[in-house]
């Protein structure tokens, strides 16, 4: 039984821990919809646009409004993208740490017992 448990731990279990790095990171990316944010980075904020009138002045004002809307969209999205990247990094690093610690966990028991006995 113990042998079977260790076999699972160092084969399927460890593989699962490695897979979780990708799953967790992808989960954060999806929560922020990073791809959509990048695709729509320069789009007007909430698709708020002004349709230009006939005169040059109206056209200019419309272009200015749309530029402003795009600027707001860019700034908001940029901050969110940065936030998403930070969150993804944290999750990725945590996953890597867990995957790295994983094979050590059964050994911790032996090490701790040895240390307890030898001092």
């Amino acid at each position: 039984m113990i042998f079977d448990m260790l076999r699972w731990w160092y084969v399927s279990g460890w593989l699962l821990a490695l897979q979780r790095i990708a799953t967790w990171t992808k989960g954060v990316e999806q929560a922020f919809s990073l791809v959509i944010l990048l695709q729509t980075l320069f789009s007007p904020w909430k698709r708020i646009i002004t349709v230009g009138g006939k005169g040059l002045d109206a056209k200019f004002h419309a272009a200015l409004d749309n530029f402003l809307s795009s600027c707001i969209g860019f700034v908001v999205r940029l901050f969110v993208i940065l936030g998403a990247l930070v969150a993804m990094t944290v999750v990725f690093v945590s996953g890597v740490v867990i995957a790295a610690i994983w094979p050590l966990l059964p050994l911790v028991f032996i090490g701790a017992i040895v240390k307890a006995v030898t001092g």
Binding site: D4, A31, S33, I36, L37, R47, P106, I113, G119
Partner: protein, 832 residues
């Protein structure tokens, strides 16, 4: 392969460990690990590192054990390809198995697991009764395991769980099989319930889907008006982590997606309950999954027609423009118009927005899914061709029965959760059957789901069974569908006696009708035809209508449960429309009447006088038990008794009775003669359950008729504590006056009114009748008061054709007992 699972195998031992780590134990272990780690930290701080290391070792064991349980033991996937039986046994079940494994012990284990409980509850089994029917010998369990293994071959996943084992236990025990049969369940029903469980397990175990977050939400524009007047279906699917329901018509989704992807709008055509809304929800999920690039970030938004149409005129037009404007500006919106006909001027409270919608559709600026019923779509095609050609129409076909069951079962789970009830599998079967019979205005699977929903208030102890569904149909539709219980069964067994309480003689006619009704009510005759259909032939005033009225009173509980049509008013071809109009017209048509009163006697007087087109419609009514109105909506006659009356052949009947004294074996020659004379078509005659001949009445019978009517008068007088009786001579006078060779006993009611009732009225007014007294009327009383009140009444000096000319033919029924008569019958026993 060993027919029994090896409980000493590694997988079995792991499953046992897994089953022993209960949620409570897990909680304790987690807490313990934290406490030990805290203690270890304290030990290091306090300068006793050896104890600290020891604590870490303990905590590490607990953490490793918990991780092993969470990611391996709890799930323990099947070992495939399976070499031993235990390789495919669900770990929860395997972990609870202990030797000796007898069928009875297996049942105990099954009952402890949710899958077993689901099956037991939904098949409405009494656990102890089933257990007592199972063997307690270990050798018998081999057959059960073999059966369970066989079931796995047809299952969706190679997983032998408690539900599979329960079915195997039921099917391998003769006692349990008998119990199933007693509960009207077939082995196929247990298979279907098992499939239901497995589909639900698949839905429950499906992980929540992540459809994207902040970025997706920001990709669409502001839609404040749309949000006020509609519902974002995509958002609700997104929050639920997916559309966790069985989707029928899934193959149609591809067609919808490809049409929407090329910018077209879609008209979904299906009757109410046909699955249009479900399909749109499944579409929302498909779009959220982002597999189609053209529609990757599109959202489906359903408009609330009733809320929008609460506005009117200019305000409504402006609102519609705003809604479409927002949808266009949003850039990724698909509008769903449920009950779309309301937006196109069809139906009550509708508004015609064709002129607003047409440019939107043509420009393809916004995609629309409009749900129509077939008849509304046909109307649209006829009246607004430009609009209908702008839609890509997709018609949802009728689902096969097994698909319908899947959808009903899926919705059953929602109904159970929402209402805190248990809906048994037999209730689902019954809802499917009865909704098919009595809810023709809706389509499957919606109508069966609707019926289950309607059954919830009738649930006993929060369980909905076959009987609950029957009760719901009986209460909401006014029909009888349950097995005739004691009082009703007794009534059916003595139907003839009950009818004869109101009906004199015509023994043969009454017997024929009663036998046909018993067949219908016992469920022996076809459920797709009327309960009974009869053609009554005979002279006027011999009791044809009275028998119909008696049937309504005895069988349906009220003589007003009768829809009466004089077919002589339907002699022109255009009268077909009048007969079939859907009730929207001012006049109440046959179909609107039967929809209001499906559990009734439909009396078609003088049927032979109707136009041939109408007689052709009757063929359909008698054959299929339903007619369809102008709008294509069916109306059911399957709970009604159809009676057509005719005087055709009356002279032949009278002559035959005079010559032979009986109508025995006269039906066939008479029918042949009527067919040869062109009065009836053979296809119409052959569709009636019975052709019943009514013979003319003799003097003795007329006397009994008069006595029955007199009973009605006494019933009325009972309030004033008065009783009236006639001398034999007075009775004879009334019989003579009440009979007419042309109208039979029809004048009897009028004569009793003008003689007996008048005489009593005079006596009461003169103070000659005191409460508690018995008024005996003789011939002078009748003639005196009759003459004084109505000099034009039928005088004794103008005698009718003496009834004694008609010889008695059939055995006489006993004199009707003083029995339940309505206080004041609206018509006499022979008002036919």
């Amino acid at each position: 392969m060993n027919p029994l699972p090896n409980l000493k195998s590694l997988r079995a031992r792991k499953a046992r460990i897994g089953s022993e780590i209960t949620p409570a134990i897990r909680k304790v272990l987690r807490l313990l690990a934290i406490l030990i780690l805290a203690a270890a930290a304290y030990c290091f701080y306090a300068g006793i590192p050896r104890i600290g290391y020891l604590a870490i070792a303990f905590a590490d064991v607990i953490v490793v054990l918990l991780l092993w349980y969470t990611y391996h033991l709890q799930k323990l996937p099947p070992s495939l390809p399976a070499k031993q039986l235990e390789d495919i046994i669900d770990p929860a079940l395997l972990g609870k198995l202990k030797a000796p494994v007898t069928p009875q012990r297996l049942w105990d284990v099954v009952m402890k697991l949710p899958e077993g409980q689901f099956m037991c509850d939904h098949l409405f089994l009494h656990s102890d009764t089933v257990k007592n029917n199972l063997s307690n010998a270990e050798a018998d369990s081999a057959q059960t395991w073999q059966q369970a293994y066989g079931l796995i071959n047809h299952a969706r996943t190679p997983n032998l769980h408690a539900g599979t084992l329960l079915v195997a236990l039921l099917l391998t025990s003769p006692g349990a099989q008998q119990y199933l049969t007693f509960n009207k369940l077939r082995p196929e029903d247990t298979f279907e319930a098992l499939n239901w469980l497995e589909r639900q397990m698949e839905l429950w175990n499906r992980p929540k889907q992540n459809f994207g977050g902040i970025g997706r939400d920001w990709a669409k524009g502001y839609t404040p008006t749309l949000e006020q007047f509609g519902q974002n279906i995509s958002q609700s699917v997104q929050y639920a982590g997916g559309f966790r329901h069985y989707v029928a018509h899934a193959d149609m989704l591809d067609g919808i997606v490809s049409n929407l992807a090329r910018g077209a709008s879609v008209a979904l055509i299906a009757p109410d309950g046909g699955g249009k809304s479900t399909l749109v929800r499944a579409l929302a999920e498909r779009l959220l999954q982002g597999k189609n690039r053209e529609l990757q970030y599109y959202q489906v938004f359903s408009l609330n027609a009733s809320l929008i149409l609460s506005y009117s005129g200019q305000q409504l037009e402006s609102l519609m423009l705003t809604l479409f404007g927002e949808a266009v500006a949003s850039g990724n919106m698909i509008l769903f118009l449920d009950d779309a006909q309301l937006f196109f001027g069809s139906g009550t409270g509708a508004f015609d927005m064709s002129q607003i919608l047409l440019p939107v559709l043509k420009s393809r600026n916004v995609r629309i899914i409009a749900a129509f019923e077939p008849r509304d779509w046909q109307q649209m095609q006829a009246t607004r061709q430009a609009l209908t050609t702008s839609f890509a129409s997709i018609t949802l076909t009728d689902l096969p029965q097994e698909e319908i069951y899947k959808v009903i079962e899926d919705n059953t789970m929602q109904l159970e959760q929402r209402n805190g009830v248990l809906i048994t599998f037999e209730a689902i079967i019954e809802a499917y059957r009865l909704s098919g019979q009595y809810m023709q205005e809706l389509a499957y699977p919606g109508k069966a789901i609707n019926l289950l929903e309607q059954s919830i208030p009738y649930a006993q102890e929060r369980v909905i069974t076959r009987e609950t569904v029957q009760a719901a149909v009986e209460k909401t539709k006014g029909v009888k569908v349950s097995v005739a219980a004691a009082p009703e069964a007794d009534m059916l067994l003595h139907l003839e006696d009950r009818i004869h309480e109101r009906m004199i003689n015509q023994v043969r006619a009454v017997n024929d009708v009663a036998a046909a009704l018993r067949r219908g009510r016992a469920g022996v005759s076809s459920p797709n035809r009327p309960v009974g259909s009869f053609l009554f032939l005979g002279p006027t005033g011999v009791g044809k209508t009275e028998l119909a009225r008696s049937l309504a009173a005895v069988y349906f509980g009220d003589e007003h449960q009768m829809i009466r049509l004089d077919m002589s008013e339907y002699q022109r071809p255009e009268d077909v429309t009048r007969l079939l109009s859907g009730g929207s017209k001012t006049e109440r048509s046959l179909l609107s009447a039967i929809r209001e009163q499906p559990f009734a006697v439909v009396l078609l007087d003088e049927v032979e006088k109707a136009h041939p087109n109408i007689l052709n419609l009757l063929l359909q009514m008698l054959d299929e038990g339903q007619l369809t109105d102008e709008q294509g909506r069916p109306a059911s006659f399957r709970s009604s008794i159809i009676i057509a009356t005719s005087n055709a052949g009356a002279a032949d009947i009278t002559q035959h009775v005079r010559e032979q004294g009986t109508l025995e074996n006269f039906e066939r020659p008479l029918i042949d003669k009527l067919i040869a004379a062109g009065q009836f078509k053979p296809e119409l005659i052959n569709r009636f359950d019975e052709v019943v001949l009514f013979r003319p009445l003799n003097e003795d019978e007329l006397s009994q008729v008069a006595q029955v009517m007199l009973k009605g008068v006494n019933q009325t007088l009972a309030v004033q504590q008065l009783t009236v009786q006639l001398t034999p001579e007075a009775l004879k006078t009334i019989v003579h006056q009440g009979y007419d060779p042309e109208f039979g006993a029809r004048p009897m009611r009028r004569i009793i009114q003008k003689t007996v009732e008048n005489a009593i009225a005079m006596k009461i007014l003169r103070g000659q009748a005191q409460p508690g007294s018995v008024i005996t009327l003789d011939v002078p009383d009748l003639t005196q008061d009759q003459n004084s009140s109505d000099a034009n009444s039928n005088p004794p000096g103008n005698p009718p054709v003496p009834p004694q000319q008609t010889p008695p033919t059939t055995p006489q029924p006993p004199t009707p007992p003083a029995a339940p008569m309505p206080p004041q019958p609206p018509a006499g026993p022979y008002a036919g």
